[in-house]
């Protein structure tokens, strides 16, 4: 698994190198550069921080300081199905924290972590702005409103079934070829 991540990271770093040059070497570009990396690769690998520091000619600790200051940046690859549980006030009033707890228990990981098979990760977010649907969880890009403890298991099951179906279809297609 670790090796797999390392080979992946090597590819990612090459890609980042090629995109860095599109930015001017200005201190003010630090956050936009980090956002570019996060957007393209969903997280910021450790080595990428060094690359950015070298490129902007500022100390590594400054890049690290800025990257860790802002909530947007993450330092581990997320799961294939990232789960975001909204913990804004409206969702909290309607027990969003209990939804989070149920996801954590079902997947046996804590918020901020990814399952060992890299299928799921859990994050808490502060208000996604669909307060009318509270409590809300977002899986991938899909918003699931009016969540309840009893819906958590069904939601995860549906994703797993969907995935198995897709894999079977893939197999039949490649089998036909």
């Amino acid at each position: 698994m670790d090796e797999e991540i390392l080979t992946e990271e090597a590819l990612i770093l090459n890609d980042i190198r090629s995109h860095l040059t599109t930015f001017e070497k200005e201190r003010g570009n630090l956050i936009p550069i980090l956002q570019m990396i996060q957007e393209k690769h969903a997280y910021i690998p450790r080595e990428a921080i060094k690359l950015v520091a070298e490129y902007l000619e500022i100390p590594v600790c400054e890049v690290y300081g800025v990257a860790t200051f802002y909530n947007q940046f993450r330092f581990h690859p997320p799961g294939k199905y990232p789960i975001k549980v909204c913990l804004g006030t409206a969702c909290h009033v309607r027990s969003g924290d209990i939804i989070l707890e149920n996801f954590e228990r079902k997947l046996e990981i804590k918020e901020g972590e990814t399952t060992p098979d890299r299928e799921f990760s859990i994050e808490r977010v502060a208000c996604v702005g669909c307060c009318a649907l509270a409590p809300v969880a977002i899986v991938g890009e899909t918003v699931h409103g009016h969540m309840a403890p009893s819906k958590v298991e069904g939601l995860l099951l549906r994703i797993r079934i969907e995935k198995e179906k897709q894999e079977r279809e893939k197999l039949t297609i490649s089998g036909n070829n």
Partner: protein
């Protein structure tokens, strides 16, 4: 060119966007099939405001309002209403109290108590088409400011209007501009704060999504007033739709010569760039926001010097909130006198609130200053769902406080709200019913604040964490005598000594809940009991045989098989198997579990 006889204003705001694209797709197909594509136009609007009913659609020009539209309803709307002229009644709004069916938008109480100024274009224009905005007097204010007024006159008009900062602090906008205009220097900046961070607040996002040009126009006028040539909009990266619409709006304004060099042939230059914030609550604080644009950690610095003297890159800068700026064009166009005609002695104009929580009509509302909180919660909001009792309404998010029943008749006014221990805030308004635990609410906000504290000053970094520790202990049933007094003392020290607004207001939720709901704290500490049945550690997970209806709903849904039940028998929870997931609390309709 064909004539469009009907426009379908389909809401594409974030609240509706989970479902409205599918509805739109079916509409396009059905209109095509019935040969109506030429006469009937679908327009994707910004947030309509009535999010509870999403997706919603207004049929213009008749003003028929459809709610909760599903893709399968579309063929019927097209066939019956658009083709045969018989509106589909089953999709009309039904007033929950009177069960009366209301066909048109203007008659629905949710809308009829509102006064639209900032949101006057919501749901009526396509936010991605500049001509729609201009057709509704858009950019007329900017034209007047640039062609007919001096910077001094603009500032004077703003001062007459009495407009105060809508970000929460309520500083008079005209004064802020005057300070910056008097600061020496050739380079000055106009910033728009669109880093709406309060959890439970979505006013600014909706304004940007529904009417982005109003904000740009406000910035152009502000730039003229202080003679600035460069502006930035600092927007939350979590608002992709708002950012997309702003980007389109800026591009169109440039094409029309409303941004860039020599605007409207007046020789005045001004351009705007969007800067995506990376998610830090403290960046809503003005000095922190400026550090962030400079590419640094968003940490506040002591004031003075104020940004009007030394702001972004040490140049004179003004920072206004989205809603504040969206008010500006109409003030310039209609005059400050007109604007101040609505409101109270010290608070003029309207205020937008994001109404959410335990209330029937969740959504975005704009009301005249001076209206009572009770009108907002019960008339516009339609009261509390599920026949539950109202407990409190929370204003101002993590910097604010709650207003209980006995103060619900106070008017919306900066000073009056402060008197009862809350703040006007940026507009988050969360209604809480009897099942909300106020200690847990305080803990929730403190958890947020200590997480978002930037760490620069000790009172905030350490103090908020200690407050959270005490609150956590109380909620876990480990509270001890003296905790309440410690909370009070620590809160007052943090308020007095923290560096910026985040720390100075951070303890407010604790102080405000202590002020009105001290008995709940005491129940947690001395009786180890959560009166609202919300703090999991204080629940017994037992079933009251007197309340149990023997229905077995808890038994069927328990994922841990921890409940035993037989027909016509009271259910029993086996504590060794119970995982405290709260499913049985959710499923029990009789409140029998405690």
């Amino acid at each position: 060119m064909s004539k469009i006889r009907t426009q379908l204003m389909l809401c594409g705001g974030t609240g509706c966007s989970a479902t409205s694209p599918a509805v739109r797709e079916v509409f396009e197909k059905e209109l095509e099939r019935q040969g109506l594509s030429e006469e009937v136009q679908i327009v994707e609007t910004g947030c309509n405001g009535f999010c509870t009913l999403g997706p919603v659609m207004l049929v213009q020009p008749e003003g028929i309002f459809y709610q909760k539209i599903k893709p399968k309803d579309v063929p019927e709307i097209v066939e019956e209403h658009l083709l045969k002229g018989r509106p589909v009644e089953k999709l009309f709004y039904v007033e929950p109290a009177s069960e009366e069916t209301i066909p048109t938008m203007n008659e629905i109480p949710f809308f009829s108590h509102q006064m639209l100024r900032v949101m006057r274009n919501k749901g009526l224009i396509d936010p991605e088409v500049i001509d729609d905005y201009i057709a509704r007097d858009g950019y007329f204010g900017a034209a007047k400011a640039l062609q007919e007024m001096t910077p001094g006159q603009i500032i004077e008009e703003m001062k007459i209007s009495g407009l105060r900062g809508r970000g929460g602090a309520g500083f008079p906008t005209g004064l802020k501009w005057e300070f910056a205009s008097k600061s020496p220097g050739d380079i000055k900046y106009v910033l728009c704060n669109a880093d709406e961070g309060d959890p439970g607040a979505f006013m600014d996002r909706s304004i940007l999504e529904a009417d982005p040009h109003a904000v740009l126009e406000g910035m152009i006028i502000a730039a003229r007033a202080i003679n600035s040539h460069k502006g930035y909009i600092y927007a939350r990266t979590e608002y992709p739709l708002a950012i997309r619409r702003l980007t389109i709006a800026i591009q169109q304004a440039r094409e029309y010569g409303l941004l860039g060099e020599d605007i409207l042939g007046t020789g005045f230059d001004f351009d705007i760039e969007i800067y995506e914030g990376a998610g830090a609550f403290v960046c809503g604080e003005e000095t922190a926001l400026m550090r962030s644009i400079e590419g640094k950690r968003g940490m506040p610095r002591p004031r003075p010097p104020f940004p009007a003297q030394k702001g972004l890159w040490e140049k004179p800068t003004i920072l206004n909130n989205v809603e504040t700026l969206a008010n500006v064009p109409q003030i310039i166009l209609n005059g400050g006198e007109w604007y101040s005609g609505v409101g109270t002695e010290t608070s003029k104009g309207t205020k937008v609130f994001a109404l959410s929580g335990d209330v029937n009509n969740i959504g975005l509302v704009e009301v005249p200053m001076g209206i009572s909180l009770r009108t907002i919660v019960f008339d516009i909001g339609g009261g509390i769902p599920n026949k539950k009792e109202f407990k409190a309404v929370q204003l101002g998010g993590p910097s604010g406080g709650c207003v209980p029943e006995q103060h619900l008749d106070i008017p919306v006014d900066y000073e009056e709200i402060a008197k009862v221990g809350a703040i006007m805030g940026s507009g988050g308004m969360i209604v809480m019913d009897e099942n909300t635990c106020m200690v847990d609410m305080a803990r929730f906000f403190m958890d947020f604040i200590q997480d978002e504290s930037c760490g620069k000053c000790t009172p905030c970094r350490e103090g908020t964490r200690r407050l959270l520790e005490i609150l956590n202990r109380i909620c876990e049933g480990k509270g001890k005598p003296g905790d309440i007094e410690d909370l009070e003392e620590l809160s007052s020290v943090i308020k007095e000594s923290a560096l910026c607004g985040l720390g100075q207001t951070g303890p407010n939720p604790v102080l405000s809940t202590l002020r009105y709901f001290r008995d709940e704290y005491e129940a947690h500490i001395y009786e180890k009991r959560c009166p609202a049945k919300r703090c999991v550690a204080l629940l017994k997970f037992e079933i009251d045989p007197d309340l149990c209806s023997k229905c077995g709903a808890c038994f069927r849904h328990c994922p841990a098989e921890a409940i035993t039940w037989k027909k016509k028998d009271v259910a029993v929870i086996q504590k060794d198997k119970c995982i405290k997931c709260m499913t049985c609390f959710e499923k029990c309709k009789f409140g029998a579990i405690f």
